[in-house]
Amino acid sequence: MENQLRNAIRKLLEEKTVDVAIGYGRVGVGGAVGAVFVTDPSEVDRLVWNAECRQNLAVHLSRPEVKALGKPAIVVKGCDARAVVVLANEGQIDRENVVVVGVVCEGIQGADASGVATGTLLDKCVTCVEHAAQNVDILIGDAAKAAELDAANAPNAKTAGKQAKLAALLQKTPEERFQYWRDEFSRCVRCHACRQSCPLCYCNRCVADKNRPTRIDTSATLKGNFAWNILRAFHLAGRCVGCGACSAACPAGIDLDLLNLTLANAADEQFGYVAGKELGAAPLIGTYAENDKEEFIR
């Protein structure tokens, strides 16, 4: 598959269909997988594809320094592909001007503290039903295999993995839940890595950085950490595609996915909306229906 991927990208670069390919390469410390930006067709061998391709590369699409490289091709997994769709739906990229190279993903493994793959699939992969990236221009890999994996996960997609963790949290009393988050957020150092790693946190100036007036504490006070994490999660309501980039980036190991998943579940349950599923879909927030549920309003 890796060769197939390299060949496809080489062709795109050689024929000048694209100016740059954003893909995975062993660029980090100890050969850890990270993003590479290939502009020269003779360098496509830097590209890799394996179970350690954790990052969601879509985060680079809206960065000005990447845009400056010209028309991109981007390698995406199923979950990442949905982020590209949201970026297009929100007018952040011109979908016609990006070549999306989807891969059939058989699941990504977690990493231990030193970055070595654990052999265990990430939670999101346990419930994944999009092993073949959708809404792509080129698909690399065996679509039949992807369909098999999808079918295997489908029965538990709403109950296993992170869903199980969220369900367990919701079993607790509200006081216990508050205490749980209090403990978690007390470790937040406000590095904003969660924001920087998110393909959909693309604002040039984040409200968290504004100080005239200061909306939320800029330093890591517990109150500010609550405000920040509420803000980050809710700004992604109806938009988060569940790629887990934020949780993976968090140095404090806070399970931000649980907040994102809460909102994704609510979007699905209340409005039948799944972010990034459909190219051209109207954003969930920003539209409304006259019969939206309101039994909680007096």
């Binding site: 969220l166 949290l169 919701l170 607790k172 009393t173 509200p174 006081e175 216990e176 839940r177 508050f178 205490q179 749980y180 988050w181 209090r182 007390s186 409200v207 909306r215 939320i216 006070t221 517990l222 109150k223 609550f226 405000a227 509420i230 803000l231 999660a233 809710f234 309501a237 109806g238 649980l258 907040l259 809460t262 909102l263 579940n265 609510a266 979007a267 209340q270 409005f271 969930l284 927030i285 920003g286 539209t287 409304y288 229906a289 006259e290 939206d292 549920k293 309101e294 909680f296 309003i297 007096r298």
Partner: protein, 149 residues
């Protein structure tokens, strides 16, 4: 002043009500001109429209010591800006779920539609909220995270 709020020494909840300029604010005003008394525990923050009520404002209210918050605007179909409240309603539906996962006390977060003609509804609702919040007591959980450095 409502006799109940005259008690001294007891806990007096602080309620922050974010209301839209065109309906609920006028409803509250009508309650006043009709001399319908409601507890002074309610601090009214007037905004152009419920569509302007950023969820951060609710968080901020708790940060500065609110024991409960109310967001209220025009009934669906009556928004001065046509659809501000429809947009708001959708956001609230989602935001409530986030608060629930976080364990923020949902009994302290209220939403309502109150028109300019519903002074009596405003009086009744805020009185109810004040009473209920008085029973719940101060929002210690949130005050504790605010106090912690």
């Amino acid at each position: 002043m409502n006799p109940e709020t005259k008690t001294t020494g007891g806990f007096e909840p602080k309620i922050v009500a974010f209301v839209c300029n065109w309906c609920t604010y006028l409803g509250a005003d009508l309650a006043g001109t009709n001399r319908l008394e409601y507890p002074a525990n309610v601090r009214i923050v007037r905004l152009p429209c419920t569509g302007r009520v950023d969820f951060n404002l609710l968080v901020k209210a708790f940060e500065v010591g609110a024991d409960a918050v109310l967001v209220s605007g025009c009934h669906p179909g009556d928004c001065h800006y046509a659809a501000g409240n429809f947009h708001a309603r959708r956001r609230w539906g989602l935001f409530r779920e986030l608060l629930d996962t976080l364990g923020v006390d949902s009994r302290r977060v209220h939403f309502s539609w109150i028109s300019a003609a519903e002074g009596a509804k405003f009086q009744k609702l805020v009185t109810e909220i004040v009473e209920k919040t008085r029973e719940l007591g101060p929002y210690e959980d949130y005050k504790a995270i605010v106090a912690e450095k």
